[in-house]
């Protein structure tokens, strides 16, 4: 295991990169979705509701398979993605994993935020409307800032689940941590348990970091 630390770190490098870009994208999309869901426009509201129920109720692996093997048939592919940073290659596999994971996780972020929106008393939005803020202002200035605080725990859970879900990309052409682990267990069958432990600890450390960030946000915002 010690001889293969570079494989270990490279695998987790991909995992971490994937997590970070997906976290940003799924937060952005999740916020958009929740704004649609609680907004006043009926068409957008039903659009977001349908999106969330369809994508959230689909297994993640199916979404990966769709983007890898079905979407190319109708002309959607990510072959054009060619970003190379140092020894890391962000190509089709990374882009597809990014799209699949972000679209999937956005649903859970949206629902987490929605629980937060519901936790904001009606009077807050009424007071915001009463001073003349339009819907966008009511949301961005008053409801969402409070909703996001209230939804730190559920959104953090969604992101932690997403961090572990990056491992699904292992069987879809991406050499992230789980793929690196499987490469090593194949080469060193006799040390399988040690290898498993190392990678499990790697994931635990990453998840712990995310939960600690979440906890500190919760604590900081509780004072206010």
């Amino acid at each position: 295991m010690l001889d293969n630390l570079d494989e270990f770190f490279k695998g987790f490098g991909y995992t971490l990169f994937l997590f970070l870009v997906c976290a940003v994208a799924s937060m952005a999309l999740g916020i958009l979705l929740v704004a649609m869901r609680v907004g006043p426009i009926a068409v957008l509201r039903s659009l977001a509701t349908v999106y969330v129920s369809v994508v959230r109720n689909t297994p993640l692996v199916l979404i990966f398979i769709f983007f890898h093997f079905a979407a190319p048939i109708i002309g959607i592919n990510f072959k054009w993605v060619q970003v190379h940073v140092g020894s890391f290659d962000f190509t089709s596999a990374f882009a597809t994993a990014f799209v699949a994971l972000s679209l999937y996780t956005a649903c859970f972020v949206c629902e987490g935020l929605r629980s937060g929106v519901n936790a904001v008393p009606m009077g807050q939005a009424e007071a915001a409307r009463a001073i003349g803020l339009p819907f966008g202002g009511v949301m961005t200035q008053v409801v969402l800032p409070q909703a996001i605080r209230a939804s730190v725990p559920p959104v953090a859970s969604a992101l932690i689940a997403m961090l572990k879900n990056t491992s699904v990309a292992a069987i879809f052409f991406l050499a992230e941590a789980t793929a690196a682990m499987r490469g090593l267990t194949n080469d060193y069958s006799s040390q399988r348990i040690g290898i498993f432990l190392c990678f499990a600890i790697g994931y635990i450390v990453l998840v712990e970091i995310v939960s600690m960030i979440s906890l500190s946000l919760e604590r900081r915002w509780r004072v206010a």
């Binding site: 008393p121 009077g123 009463a130 001073i131 803020l133």
Partner: protein, 261 residues
């Protein structure tokens, strides 16, 4: 103190009788419940109207229809001669001109006291931040919570919070102020500090529609008392007449219960 717009429409300078808020033939149902029935009400510029009545009489609903936090099923509502817009930017602009103070204060929990007061001027009126903050500080000083500007709402007492809510509404330079039971959620010892601010506001000539149970305020500050029961305006008159010689049985009954306390 610098001259403020509400000072500019002080009782003496107001054009008496000119209607500012007009409700005509207003009807509203909650399912089968007819919560507002044939409401006819005109409030003149600079006038202070107190709406009283037993709970469930529709007085809060009436108040909330004037800035369209409640929609109506029939009838016209005009503010400053213009009918209420249905929705969108025009409605937001209308609401900016109608100040509202809620029973439960509804201060923005994630913003400081100062930010609560400057949010509307900055985001809606596009006032430069420094100017908005100076004006906000002035208003907070006037309602007596200037020292608390940097705190968050949860750190203030109920009475202080409600005074901040009044300052927040005033910061928008509203044409009319709506008060929806502003003291009902307050501990008794805090009621006076809020009423003092409201009396001061009335004396400066602000047009006010106040839903309240505070008969003292009605006596001292109101130009007119509107008594509601079962979704109707049963009686309206000047405070002295209303409290001493109520016309309707409903009003006499109501006053009898209230004044015994």
């Amino acid at each position: 103190m610098t001259a403020t717009p509400e000072a500019a429409v002080a009782p003496g300078s107001a054009r008496p009788g000119e209607p500012l808020v007009e409700l005509h033939g207003v009807q509203k149902w909650y399912g089968d419940l007819h919560v507002l029935q044939d409401i006819e009400l005109t409030v003149g510029r600079g006038e202070v109207v107190v709406v009283i009545g037993p709970s469930g009489s529709g007085k809060s609903t009436l108040c909330r229809t004037i800035n369209r936090l409640e929609t109506v099923d029939q009838g016209d509502i005009k503010v400053d001669g213009k009918p209420l817009p249905q929705e969108g930017k025009a409605l937001a602009a209308h609401r900016a001109d109608v100040g509202m103070v809620f029973q439960s204060f509804n201060l923005f929990a994630h913003k400081t006291i100062l930010e609560n007061v400057t949010l509307g001027p900055i985001k809606v009126r596009r006032t430069p931040k420094a100017q908005a903050e100076a004006r906000a500080q002035e208003l907070l000083d006037r309602v007596g919570v200037g020292q608390q500007a940097a705190k968050y709402p949860a750190q203030l007492s109920g009475g202080q919070q409600q005074r901040v809510a009044i300052a927040r509404a005033l910061a928008m330079e509203p044409k009319v102020m709506l008060f929806d039971e502003p003291t009902s959620a307050l501990d008794p010892e805090m009621i006076k500090e809020v009423l003092d601010v409201m009396v001061d506001l009335a004396e400066r000539g602000m047009t006010m529609i106040v839903v309240t149970h505070e008969m003292g305020f009605a006596r001292t500050a109101a130009n007119r008392v509107v008594f509601m029961a079962d979704g109707r305006i049963v009686e309206e008159s000047d405070p002295e007449t209303f409290f001493t010689q109520p016309e309707s049985d409903r009003a006499r009954d109501f006053l009898g219960k209230i004044l015994k306390h």
